[in-house]
Every structure is written in structure tokens, then in C-alpha cells.
């Protein structure tokens, strides 16, 4: 996943279990480990594969998330993200004078998972990062017994009990359990052929999506749900606030010019909120 993990409220033994949990998920879903299960699946020429239960569950969740977001969060953009130049760990990613490769649109409807049997078109490459980080944080939180605890996976947070969470651009909010996640392009950006690239792709084109927001933060009942909703709201751009509102989710949209828009349910977080969305 290439992120720092923070844990609060865990014993030493629980901390070790959380560490092992993330290592297990990394080994299954890393795009950058040649021996990860994801890499093996993506290299396979076979259209039908038997995968591990963990992998199958993640694919099932990713397909369900794709259906729930109208295909905005698509798990079949592995080839497209590589074409954009994101083909190694972000810490090793440098600007590249070569132009971006040919994009490939998402094809999540062509993927099937039945039990542990994965069926997908030959050549299609999965990228499950749309759900994996949130799922891993939620799974890790289950390993901690305390009534008040949290797991922070690179800014995507799963929490039990009250937790004050600092927000992009300033301000903080109290999460009363569940998850909170931010999606945006303020951190992971690079140049390919002189053109700005980022990791949030428009599944319809396979190219980095345009959005009026730089960061979208969403709170939900789980970290995975918050992360998927934040990505979707970012990708939907102007329609993002309405999409969250329709689902009763509290969200906060930060634009590049500093404008902050919040949906109903988002409390005063101390930042200078310029607009409140209550459609």
C-alpha cells in the first residue's frame, strides 16, 4: 500500500497482530511486489483463476463498490494506472519525459467472482487499491480490543470510540467511531511527458480525472465505505456533494483555491467554511 500505518489504543501483542495483518494484505494486493497475489493474477494468461479467500473477498467488495458508485471506483484500471506512469512505489516515482501510455477504460462488468474462482478477460489488470486500504484498516481495527482505538492507514482512519481527526487545509472534527478518509490529488502527483498525472482515474477514459476539488473527506460507518465514498465524490466533481447528501454521508470538499464546501451532517470543524451544501 506504500503508506505509513498508525495505531492507537493497542497492546504490544495487538500491535504485532496489526503489523502482521498489513503485511498479509500488502503481500496479497501490492502492485509493486512481483510475487504478490495481485501481480501473479495480473501476469496470468488464464481467464479463469482460483484465488485466495482474502483476494476473492476483496474482489467481491471491489465489484460491489463499483456497482454502488456507478462504476466510478473501478477495480480494473491496473493497465491505465501503469499507462499514466504509476508503475512503481510512489517513493521511487520520478517525472518522466516520455508521454503517458495509451489509456484503458474500466471494464469491471467483465469481471466475475464466484467463491474463489475469478474470471476476467485475458490481459485485464486489476488494481484493488480503491478498497484495499480501507478494508485493511477495518480488518486491523478488529484485532484491537480497546473501547477507544484507531488504525490510520496513510490518512484513511478506522476508529472505535471518539477520535479527533485533523483535516486537510486545517481544522479538525471528532469522529464517534467508524471511518474517515480523504481522497485527492494534493499529494500523489507526477509528470509524464510534461503533463500532470495523478492516481484518481476516470474509469470511462482511463485517464487522470479532472475535478474541481483537491481533497474530499468523508466519514462513514467503516473506513472502506468512507474511502470509496471520498473517491467517488472527488471523481464526480461538482456532483460530489449531492451524491454524498443522497446517501446521508457527511463530507467536506476542499478546492485548490481554499474554498471549503461541507454537506449536511458535517459539524463546524474550525476551518473557514465558505459554503454548506444541503441539497
Amino acid at each position: 500500500m506504500g503508506v505509513e500505518v498508525g495505531v492507537g489504543g493497542a497492546t504490544d501483542a495487538e500491535l504485532a497482530a496489526v503489523r502482521a495483518c498489513f503485511e498479509r494484505w500488502e503481500q496479497a494486493f501490492s502492485r509493486f511486489r512481483p510475487d504478490s497475489e495481485l501481480s501473479l493474477v495480473n501476469r496470468s494468461e488464464s481467464e479463469l483463476l482460483i484465488v485466495s479467500q482474502l483476494f476473492a473477498d476483496a474482489v467481491r467488495t471491489a465489484l460491489a463498490a463499483a456497482a454502488a458508485t456507478g462504476g466510478a471506483v473501478d477495480p480494473t484500471l491496473g493497465r491505465a494506472i501503469e499507462a499514466a506512469g504509476y508503475d512503481r512505489d510512489f517513493s521511487r516515482l520520478a517525472d518522466d519525459p516520455r508521454p503517458a501510455g495509451a489509456p484503458a477504460a474500466g471494464r469491471w462488468r467483465d469481471v466475475r467472482i464466484e467463491g474463489r474462482v475469478l474470471v476476467r478477460p485475458r490481459g485485464l489488470r486489476l488494481d484493488l487499491n480503491g478498497v484495499v486500504k480501507g478494508l485493511a484498516a477495518d480488518a486491523a481495527l478488529e484485532l484491537v480490543a480497546a473501547a477507544a482505538c484507531f488504525v490510520d492507514a496513510g490518512g484513511d482512519v478506522a476508529a472505535r470510540g471518539a477520535l479527533d481527526v485533523a483535516l486537510p487545509g486545517g481544522g479538525a472534527v471528532r469522529l464517534q467511531g467508524g471511518g474517515i478518509a480523504t481522497s485527492g490529488t494534493s499529494r500523489r502527483r507526477w509528470l509524464r511527458g510534461g503533463e500532470a498525472q495523478h492516481h484518481l482515474l476516470d474509469a470511462r477514459t482511463g485517464r487522470p480525472a479532472g475535478s474541481r476539488w483537491s481533497d474530499v473527506t468523508v466519514a462513514a460507518g467503516s473506513c472502506c465505505a468512507a474511502d470509496v465514498a471520498a473517491k467517488t465524490a472527488f471523481l464526480l466533481s461538482d456532483d460530489g456533494p449531492d451524491w454524498l447528501h443522497e446517501r446521508g454521508l457527511a463530507g467536506r470538499f476542499l478546492a485548490a483555491d481554499g474554498l471549503i464546501v461541507t454537506t449536511s451532517g458535517w459539524p463546524d470543524d474550525g476551518a473557514a467554511t465558505a459554503a454548506v451544501w444541503a441539497a
Partner: protein, 98 residues
Amino acid sequence: MNANDDRQRRPSRIEAAKERVADVKATLAAIAAALFVVVAFLARGHHAAAASAAAASGSTGSATGAAVDSQSSSDDFGFPSASLGSAGGAPSASTHAS
């Protein structure tokens, strides 16, 4: 005498052949049942495999329920909401794009 012997042996040969055919049929049925269970295990997971085994053995019992349980685990993606409040005094973390 030889012709008489042949007439006596013929029915036993026929019976032996019938037994061999029956053995082959039973073996094929067992293989088919085993394959069915394996495919069901791969396709639907452990619970459905048990259900298929029950179905293959003629028992219906809880077969349908087990299959439904294994299918309905996470096919629907939900967006449960969370409760937010004003920050202050609780343990802290930060959220950011990564």
C-alpha cells in the same frame, strides 16, 4: 462335451461382464459426484460445498440455506453513516490523501 461346457460358461461370462459394467458406472458416478463437490467448493466456498455434498447424497436439509448464506456475504456495498462532532480532548489522528 466341449460345446456343452461353452453353453454352461456363457451365462457366467455375461454375468461377469454385467458386473464390470455396473462397477464402471458406479465409479463414474462417484467421480462425477466428487467433481461436483469440488466445483461447488471452488465456485461458492466451503458452506456451499457442504450443501452440494448433501444434495449429491440425496439429502436436501439445509443445503439451500447454506448456499444463500455464502452468496450474500458482501455482494451489496453499503454506505452506513458515521456520527461527527466538534473536536477537542479526544485522542487524535489526521486524515489526508495518500
